[in-house]
């Protein structure tokens, strides 16, 4: 599934509209602990977190995450959004909790997998 397809299926707000949304992902990792995300996130993942400080960009950039979803409409400051665009990191805002967002993505990916069988 691509980020573009994801945005069409969920009410997510793209905070980095200047970036391409054709990156694809097949897995999701949810954690607010940066070391856990560093260990588990890959370029094939979307990372869901409530952390909205700049250190998340370091983690996402090092692991080349397909996108970061900030749950519960936690809006980061403009500086973070600007730096995310510079570092080519897609940032999405979700109105749902991390649990709900994860559940929705889990079902979407499962459906996609079943559809491809």
């Amino acid at each position: 599934m691509t980020i573009q397809q994801l945005i069409k299926q969920m009410p997510l707000q793209l905070l980095t509209p200047e970036l391409e949304t054709n990156a694809s992902f097949h897995d999701v990792y949810t954690s607010d602990l940066l070391s856990a995300a560093l260990a588990k996130v890959t370029e094939d993942h979307v990372w869901i977190t409530v952390q909205v400080h700049q250190n998340i960009l370091g983690v996402a950039s090092i692991k080349q995450a397909a996108a970061v979803i900030l749950s519960e409409n936690l809006m980061p400051d403009q500086d973070l959004i600007k730096k995310a665009q510079e570092k080519n990191i897609l940032i999405l805002l979700s109105p749902f909790t991390s649990y709900e967002t994860s559940g929705m993505l889990y079902n979407m990916l499962k459906e996609e997998k079943n559809g491809n069988k």
Partner: protein, 153 residues
């Protein structure tokens, strides 16, 4: 002659990390990753190095007030990183290496640090890991090997 591959190098880079500064954690790791991209194009290898340097950088920023240095030595088949500081040292090394144990302050925890898995992440992603600590400071050395090099190790 084979030994010269890993015993001689002039490719040394030193990065300074500011102590008690959480905002910039990750910036040195990204700089190291970008620099190493000139030597090793493989993404997976660079990501492993990036994780390890990020954790080492976070430790210097969180656990020292005066910061420290991250020295990067580039060999053809591996990268050796040494993170040094003159901080208070680790009181109990065994505990420090136990997953989940952390002495990070509350403010760092609120930012998603201090889960007590940083050093274990380095152990997991690195091929060589050595740490020594005293009241005068801590020296952490690790290597990540590039398995693409047939002359490796």
């Amino acid at each position: 002659m084979e030994n010269t591959i890993t015993t001689s190098t002039d490719k040394k880079y030193v990065y300074e990390v500011i102590g008690a500064d959480f905002d910039t954690i990750g910036s040195k790791a990204l700089a190291v990753k970008k620099m190493l991209n000139n030597y090793f194009p493989k993404n997976d290898y660079l990501r492993r190095l990036g994780v390890c340097v990020f954790e080492a950088e976070a430790n210097l920023a969180i656990h020292t007030t005066q910061g420290g240095t991250i020295e990067v030595l580039v060999f053809s088949d591996r990268v050796r990183i040494t993170a040094k500081d003159n901080g208070p040292g680790m009181k109990d090394m065994k505990k420090a290496l136990t997953p989940g144990f952390s002495t990070a302050p509350e403010i760092a925890r609120q930012l998603g640090f201090g889960g007590g898995v940083g050093l274990n992440n380095i152990k997991r992603f690195a091929d060589y890991f050595y740490i020594e600590s005293s009241k005068k400071g801590t020296i952490l050395t690790f290597e990540v090997w590039n398995d693409d090099d047939p002359t490796a190790h």
